[in-house]
């Protein structure tokens, strides 16, 4: 597709490669000198307006970066949206990771473990299930699928207390399983998404020819269709990673042991200490700020790194909605 070749710096728009060029890609034709009359003008007004919107969304993050470079004194005495003369970032980072016997380091590791384990396990369950629902006919297929979809309307937090009650009965609270098991199992959207995607991305004839070659159905799934499902797998993985990494309510109620906290609960705890004793523990303020900055890096990196996959995944997944 010419659009994709003509614009190599936009690898995040594989949708353009999968579809014929359209209005949205008109600008590339303009660049190539084959511009249409009406679409050739870009709007400065719209661009300026959208840049202003983007500034609003970036402003708190900019503040966070600036604040992470300041000592407690500078935080209170200098203007919040610009750097102080003295860069305290590395001291702050060092303090954040070593305070309270390296508590933040432990929380960060916990968050990684919970998020990756839930996302890997959950993506695997959703992929197998979505494939089964999309490609096999069996009694109860529709009923089970609709049942799972109905679960989407049940709010996660209304479910958290029931899960807590059950888990405390069987002694699973205050263990990593209390976070990982619910996070990987309750993701109806992942299943829905994998089913829709499998339906459109995996041709029946491919499965059929695999069978003729004598491959078992699971081997076909893992070795033949896996590659076709990559964008969807990356999308589901990423969204599950985000939802577990960002989860606060479930770990808050499940975990008592600070050594098991994820960063969200840990930071909230530090914030509680920073504000409860007023100025006395003002030293926690830079730790909360720097810890916050550190906690958002993994996800931003994951999003940027997997960008070309999840943008395609979302577009193809929404075709059949």
């Amino acid at each position: 597709m010419s659009a994709a070749i003509a614009n190599p710096e936009a690898p995040d728009e594989p949708a353009a490669a999968a579809q014929p060029p359209r209005e949205g890609e008109g600008r590339r034709e303009v660049r190539g000198g084959r511009g249409r009359k009406r679409r050739s003008k870009r709007s400065t007004l719209l661009t300026v307006g959208m840049l202003a919107a983007a500034a609003y969304f970036l402003l708190p993050l900019f503040w966070l970066v600036v604040a992470s470079t300041k000592s407690t004194g500078d935080l209170f005495s200098t203007f919040g949206l610009w750097f102080a003369g003295h860069n305290n970032l590395f001291t702050n980072l060092g303090n954040t990771f070593t305070q309270d016997g390296g508590a933040f380091t432990v929380w960060f590791g916990n968050s990684l473990l919970y998020a990756v384990a839930s996302a890997v396990g959950g993506t695997f369950l959703a992929a197998l299930g979505g494939y089964g629902f999309a490609k096999y006919r069996f009694r109860g297929n529709q009923a089970m699928f609709m049942g799972v979809l109905g679960a989407m309307a049940v709010p996660a937090t209304a479910l958290a207390i029931p899960i807590y009650l059950l888990f405390s009965q069987i002694g699973l609270t205050d263990t990593p399983w209390a976070i990982i098991l619910p996070s990987m199992a309750i993701h109806p959207f992942g299943l829905y998404f994998m089913r829709v995607y499998t339906d459109s991305a995996v041709p029946d004839s491919l499965i059929e020819s695999g069978r003729i070659d004598g491959a078992g159905d699971f081997r076909i799934f893992f070795q033949v269709t896996g590659r076709l499902l990559t964008p969807a797998l990356a999308t589901v993985f990423l969204f599950m990673l985000v939802s577990t990494w960002n989860n606060y309510f479930l770990p808050l109620i499940m975990l008592n042991d600070p050594d098991l906290y994820p960063v969200t609960v840990g930071l909230a705890n530090w914030q509680g200490q920073a504000s409860s004793s007023g100025g006395a523990s003002g030293d926690y303020v830079p730790l909360v700020i720097t810890g916050s900055l550190v906690s958002i890096f993994p996800l931003i990196i994951a999003f940027l790194f997997l960008q070309r996959y999840w943008t395609t995944g979302l577009v193809s997944g929404s075709v059949k909605q």
């Binding site: 969304f57 197998l128 209304a158 479910l159 969200t264």
Partner: protein
């Protein structure tokens, strides 16, 4: 079924989907079994257990006694719960239309050819989604704050006083701003993805008829986006009514404004983990769940009816 597989139909079950033989049905069950087992264990069983649990009451004398639906009659007349529901209902009415309008506008703007730097802008608006809501609330809490918040500092420079963002009057609006900041980009991406999936022939026809980009957006894109918009709205119903993280963080900054029953979820949490009223907390969770499901259902019904008429 596609034509190329049809000739084999007699010999072997044609395709996976057409394969009605018992062997393939069994394989289908094997594929969905892991998900269904996990789902049953983590969703159906806890719900059933908590439903049973919500029918009891812990008493000083006599321990755990069966009280039938008493916890539910209590919940439906509990002013603290009703007030919280009213608050998140108000929150929903103000915040969600604003956020969806912004998300829709941004998605449409990104989908036109009129925009420079569209890729950068898209990423910038989406980025807050990658920020944990706890961190978002912490950041905005500092930004709102009277001590070293830049808003207060700016106001001081021009000799004014910044409004008390953490006071009782503005708190709900301040939380609405945080939630809008977090989720506008996410909704924008979902709508944008749906826009990219619209067949291009429709635009070409409109273009031939002389429709400009705004006219195309209004008359073609928005009507076609309807299912995606409804989906986003339903997610937003769910999100608003279970509001917890942001108020719970803001509570550390303004404990007198964000009371223990500020939102229904905060109330359920405090009932269970501060007051040890687990049975009643379970009932409150169920009431909240019912309200949310009823809300999403009514919403879908209303939008469906309108699209038919």
């Amino acid at each position: 079924m596609s034509a190329d597989t049809a000739p084999r139909a007699a010999a072997a079950p044609r395709t996976a989907k057409g394969g009605k033989g018992p062997r393939y049905a069994r394989t289908g069950y094997l594929f969905v079994a892991p998900f269904m087992v996990a789902f049953t264990a983590m969703f159906l069983v806890p719900l059933a257990y908590a439903a049973w649990f919500s029918l009891f009451r812990e008493q000083m004398i006599g321990g755990n006694v069966f009280v039938g639906l008493d916890n539910y009659t209590r919940a439906f007349t509990d002013p603290r719960l009703i007030q919280g529901l009213g608050r998140v209902g108000l929150f929903f009415l103000i915040q969600v239309p604003l956020m969806m309008a912004l998300a829709l506008f941004f998605a449409l703007a990104l989908d036109t050819a009129l925009l420079r730097l569209s890729r950068t802008i898209r990423l910038a608006i989406f980025m807050p989604y990658a920020v944990p809501s706890v961190v978002a609330a912490l950041m905005w809490g500092f930004l709102y704050g009277p001590d070293f918040g830049p808003l207060a500092q700016l106001a001081e420079r021009i000799g004014a006083t910044a409004p008390d963002f953490l006071g009782a009057d503005l708190m709900l609006g301040s939380i609405a701003n945080i939630v809008t900041w977090e989720f506008t980009g996410y909704n924008m991406i979902l709508l944008y993805a749906a826009l990219r999936a619209i067949p291009t022939e429709l635009y070409e026809a409109a273009s031939v008829d002389g429709a400009g980009p705004w006219r195309t957006a209004w008359s073609i894109k928005i009507p076609l986006l309807r299912p995606a918009i409804v989906l986003c709205m339903v997610f937003s119903v769910i999100g608003s009514f279970q509001l917890f993280n942001e108020p719970s963080i803001m509570r550390t900054l303004a404990p007198n404004v964000i009371v223990a029953d500020y939102t229904p979820n905060l109330y359920a949490y405090n009932l269970a983990f501060v007051g040890q009223e687990y049975n009643y907390a379970a009932a409150v969770s169920f009431v909240l769940g019912f309200v949310i499901m009823a809300g999403s259902y009514v919403f879908m019904l209303a939008t469906n009816r309108r699209s038919r008429s």
